[in-house]
Symmetry: C2
Subunit: 344 residues, 2 copies
Amino acid sequence: MTATLTEAGLAGLAARALAGLGLERRDAEDCARILVLGELMGLSTHGVGRIESYGERLDLGGIKARPDIRVHKVAPAIAKVDGDNGVGPLVGMRALRAAMELARETGVGIAFARASNHFGPVAPYSLIAAEAGFASIIGSNASTTIAPWGGRDARLGNSPVGFCVPNPGGQPVILDMALSVVARAKIRNAAKRGEAIPPTWATDKDGKPTTDPNAALGGFLLPIGGHKGYGLALVVDLFAGLLSGAAFLTHVSSWSDNPESPSDLGHFFFLIDCARLGPADRLADRMREFAAIIHDTPPADPASPVLLPGEIELGRLERHRRDGIAIDEALVAKLESLAARQGA
Amino acid sequence: MTATLTEAGLAGLAARALAGLGLERRDAEDCARILVLGELMGLSTHGVGRIESYGERLDLGGIKARPDIRVHKVAPAIAKVDGDNGVGPLVGMRALRAAMELARETGVGIAFARASNHFGPVAPYSLIAAEAGFASIIGSNASTTIAPWGGRDARLGNSPVGFCVPNPGGQPVILDMALSVVARAKIRNAAKRGEAIPPTWATDKDGKPTTDPNAALGGFLLPIGGHKGYGLALVVDLFAGLLSGAAFLTHVSSWSDNPESPSDLGHFFFLIDCARLGPADRLADRMREFAAIIHDTPPADPASPVLLPGEIELGRLERHRRDGIAIDEALVAKLESLAARQGA
C-alpha cells in the first residue's frame, strides 16, 4: 500500500522526522531537501528511506544531530568546510551554499568538506546549483568496495561524481554516476535469481573477473572501462578525500561495519557562475541546439530514442512534482513516528 | 635507424621546426614544450611527429602561424581565451598560463579557450601545472567519432580529459584519458591481423556492438561503461565546447576531412592552488600515504604490481630525461628540413 504525497507534503514530513531525530529545524529542512529531490528523481535508494538509518546511527553516536559546522574561507574562491560529523546532506548543503557564495563573487567557487558522512545522491545538489545559474562538478569519496586495477583488495570507494551544466529556462544536463559498472544490488539480484553475471561486473576474491554472482559478492566491484574507471574513482578520492583534509581510501570508516565511528568522508563542490560567460539567452540557445543534435541522432533501436544524461531523472521529477509521489505507507508511518519523537 | 636526443636537444629541434613553419620564436618554444613532454612520456602519437601535419595544415591555411590570441578576464577567477585559430598547443599553453595566474590570485582559476585546434596530449599541461603547485581538471572537445549511447551516428568526439593532483617533492598523480574503450588504431591493427575484437570496443554502422573489426571501422567507437562514458564524453564537450563559446558536437570541423577549415575546438583548464589548502609538507605526507596504500594492494597477478594513474608515463619521462630519447632519423631529418624553411 502506498500513499500519494505532494513534494511539499513529503518535504514537510521528512523535515519533521529529521527534527524528531534532534536536528535543528533549518538543518532538518536542508537535509530533507536533498533526500526529497533524490526521491522525486527516482533515486529512492538515496531518498527519504535513508532517514531511518540516520536515526539508528545517531542513536549509536556515530553521527551528530547538532554539529558545529565551520566554513573557513581560505582563498577568495575556496572554502574548507569542517562538517563536525554531521548528517551528510546537511554538511553537503552547507558546503554547496559556501561554494555558491564564492562563485557569485569571483566567478568560480570551490568548497572542500571533511568530517562528513554519506551525502546522498549528487544530482539534487547539481540541480540546486543549476537553478541558481551554476555549472558544477561535485563528488564524494566512499567506503571501499573497488579493488585498484590489477589488485585483489578493496581499497577504493565507488565514489559518486556529478557534472552539470545549467540551461536557463529549460532542463539542465546532469550526469550523476558512480564508477563501478554496476551497483552491488544488481549482483545480489542475479545471485537470488541464480543467474550468471557478465564478466565485466566484478571479480572474485582473487581479483579475477567472474560470471558467478556469489563469487562476485565475495570479491570486488569492477570499475567502468578497466584502468580508466579505476583512475576516475581514484582521482575523485584525491579531490574529495585527500585535498579536503578528510579520510581517504582505506581510512574511510564504513557506515555498515562501524556504525558508531565517524566516517570522516570528504566532498568537493566546484561551481562556475555561467552568467560570467555570456548572456543567459545565448547559453539557452546553445543548450537547445546541443540537445537537438543529441536527440536527433538516429537510434540503433527505433523504440529507444537517444537521451541526454539526467533526462530520465528530471522527467520523473517533473511528473512527481505535478502528480505527487507514491510512498510506501510503512515508510510514511515510520517517518511519522520519528517526527513524534521528543526532539521534534 | 634512430638518433638519441636529450630533452633540450629535442625541444630545440622542435622549436626550430615550428619557427620554420612561421611561428614566432617564443610561441614555437611553448608549443614544442607540450609536444616534447608528450614524446618523453611515451605518448608519441601526440608528440613531435605532429609537427609535420601542422605544416601541411598551415600550408593549406587551415590554421594560423601567427594568431592574435586574446585573453579576456571575465571574472576574478575566469578567463576566456580566443585562440584565433592558432596551433592547438600554443593556444593551450596561453590558456594554461592564464588559468595559473588567476589561481595564484583567488585560489582557483579557470580558462576557457575557443577557436583552437587539437592541443596535443593532456598530461604535459597537467604536469606543468602540478610542478607549479596546482591540482587540475583539463579537457578538450574533438571531432566526432562516438555515437551517443543508443544511437547510430557519430555526434560526439572522443574527448580527452585529465585530472591531476600535485605531490610536492614527488610524482604527481596524472590521469589522462579519452572516453572510448580503445582508440581506432587498435581496431585497425586487429583488422590488419584478421582478428576479432571484443564486442565492447565498437559498433557497426547500425549502432550494434560488433566483433568484426572491419564492421567496427565503418561504425562507431564505444565509450567506456556504456551510458556512463557517453555521459562523460558529453559533459567534456559541454565544458570544453559549449561553455567556452567554441564549436560543439557535429559543429567541430574535422582536421582530416576539412584540413583547410578552422576546427574551432574548445578547451577548459580548471586549476586549484594547493598552497591555499595547507602546508606543502602535509600534502606531500598525505600523497605519500595515498600512494603507499595503492602500491601495497596485493596484485591479482604477482608479476604485475598495482600502479597509480600516470606512473608509467612519468617513469618514461624520468628515464628519457636521464638517458635521452631515441627518435626516428627520418623524423629528425624532416624536422631539420622544416627548421631550414624561410620562416626560421
